[in-house]
Symmetry: C2
Subunit: 361 residues, 2 copies
């Protein structure tokens, strides 16, 4: 609830700034950090994709600024209403909520979701409050299991007692209270099917860890949950993705953040996260060559792109990975480990790699 | 466990048939129901997409048959092993498991997942056991909340006490035991964001129902869970999808089944399911015209296709819907109801429609 009061205070400050300008007879303005690519960079010291300090002034009495100015103020009003009501909206619902027609006109405040999204992102920057604190939610996805007890919305939930399904991760994990965390580390899985594999084999119980999955790219809710457990309980985070440039990128977003959400890296990135697999060396060691799925042009292109990202390009271990993948000229999926045995990934691959500290950093 | 013994018995029967043929010196053969489109039809009496009775014989000593024959037998061996181990595999893992190289050759038993999928589907038909009973799982997706207590894998899980996340639906729900079902009906939602809307507003508590979501098309796990609750507890199933031909199709798959899974309609289809919204009439009644997203060519094409499906083409109410959508010439999303109020869908739209029995059948 502290955070909520802080957010409302921040939003009110924005409103007071604007009404203050009006009372003083000045052109109402907002200071907005610049979000263009030129103001985004990888910070090797903090190991995070961060925003520079570039700022721009946005004026009400300026034909080029007024639409964005009003949209930002509307987003602030909506965020304040949501916080006061203690309700949340999805980005899509927020768009519809902001898409109102201005009185005595046929002008909609927003016409495309891109506009409301940008207004909300600007608001994150202006107020320093993440979208989650503004009560606008991203997509909901993913499952979790492990020896952790949480409290959420008045319910006490034991992640180790939820049958074959596990707990469904909400889009917003800000209000979750951790009551008891017995797990020693976290395994993040790119694929829901691999999560079911590990869950059925009770890996979280045998290795005393937490298992968490998305389906493809990790959502903000998943990333925040990983980060909170990592920071608040010092739990190591191990990433398991398919062996291909797309997997490497999923790993890098969890670890370093992303360009489009650079302004919020502080709340999402986990520089301490490490890659457990699947590595190019695994393909040889575990005899998976026959399961290589030949790269298509789009994969080769992606490999070149990912290889040259600032956060990878000076990393010798990763450059070696990319070189090996290029030589293998194809990807290998985590599921291919099933060829070694139904529970091979759970009984051998993961425990062995963790025991031998075979991580990529 | 009864079902498991039954499945193993069915699989053994298949094996005995083949070894029996060998012992008798006959050409080993399997009787496989035909799964081509010509053998699939909509049965208006049962209100289900079903398979005809066409059968084909598949021989071992037949150059055109042998590959499929061996794949089917391999799938049966794998399913037996999985049942005996009490383990499950995803379709993808099953593919890798079956992709072994035959001794003294460079021939893989399967080269593409399409082959292992087909072998498993054939096995469903031959044994009468669904893929779930064969222990091969489809994708995992979706969340559920409501006044229901289940037992699963030895855990007792109360779907009304799982915080903001809800229970994460597993890919396989065959072994779930319902301990207590207080809910009176089920609301299925196409979008996870709308599920979060209803969950935050505690619709399941206020209306005493179950809320369940996928993201897009419902998975087999979700459909089976809906069907089990519908059949075992006589709970009405109300479908909420976006107002467009894609939403209509999601509804029709839950209700009537699908062509590709026609052989398993009995285990998946819910002829009693009804559409709650979003209807073309809603667009007018709830003043949503300004939120219409103009159809693109692909939407118009899809509308024509869906309109002409056997299960829709003689349904007057649905033909009227399709006509109205064509006139509106665009789709309207459930999220657009947020324009009427943050909790409008939960406080007014859904309760009013249910009270007034505004269903499409």
């Amino acid at each position: 609830m502290e955070k909520k009061q802080e957010t409302i205070k921040n939003l009110k400050r924005l409103g007071s700034k604007v009404t203050g300008d009006i009372e003083k007879g000045e052109n109402p303005s907002l200071d907005v950090p610049i979000r263009t690519l030129s103001n985004v960079k990888y910070d090797p010291t903090r190991k995070m994709i961060t925003m520079g300090s570039g700022m721009a002034k946005r004026y009400f009495f300026n034909v080029g600024h007024v639409r964005k100015f009003v949209q930002t103020v509307e987003a602030a009003a909506l965020a304040k209403e949501l916080n006061e009501m203690n309700k949340h909206l999805s980005l899509r619902e927020a768009f519809y909520r902001m898409k109102r027609t201005l009185p005595d006109s046929n002008i909609n405040l927003v016409d495309e979701q891109e506009e409301s999204n940008e207004a909300i992102e600007d608001l994150e920057l202006i107020t320093g409050a993440s979208r989650e604190l503004l009560h606008v939610n991203a997509n909901k996805l993913g499952s979790i299991a492990g020896k952790v007890v949480i409290e959420d919305k008045g319910d006490v939930i034991d992640w180790s007692k939820l049958g074959s399904g596990g707990w469904s991760i909400p889009s917003n994990v800000e209000d979750i209270v951790f009551k008891k965390v017995d797990a020693k580390f976290i395994i993040y899985l790119e694929k829901a099917a691999e999560w079911e594999r590990l869950h059925e084999d009770r890996v979280w119980e045998k290795l005393n860890c937490i298992i968490i999955s998305s389906q493809g790219q990790a959502t903000r809710g998943i990333r925040r949950l990983l980060q909170r457990l990592h920071l608040e309980y010092k739990l190591p985070v191990y990433i398991l993705v398919d062996g291909d440039p797309w997997g490497a990128y999923i790993y890098s977003v969890i670890k370093y953040g992303s360009i489009s959400l650079a302004h919020i890296s502080q709340e999402l990135a986990i520089p301490g996260a490490r890659m457990l697999g699947l590595t190019a060396e695994d393909v040889v060691k575990y005899d998976l060559k026959k399961h290589i799925i030949k790269f298509e042009e789009v994969d080769i292109k992606r490999l070149e792109q990912v290889k040259n990202y600032d956060w990878f390009k000076d990393n010798k271990e990763w450059q070696k990975q990319f070189k090996l993948w290029k030589e293998l000229n194809g990807k290998v999926e985590l599921a291919a480990l099933a060829s070694k045995g139904i529970t091979f990934i759970s009984d051998h691959y993961i425990p062995d790699k963790i025991k031998n500290k075979e991580f990529l950093d």
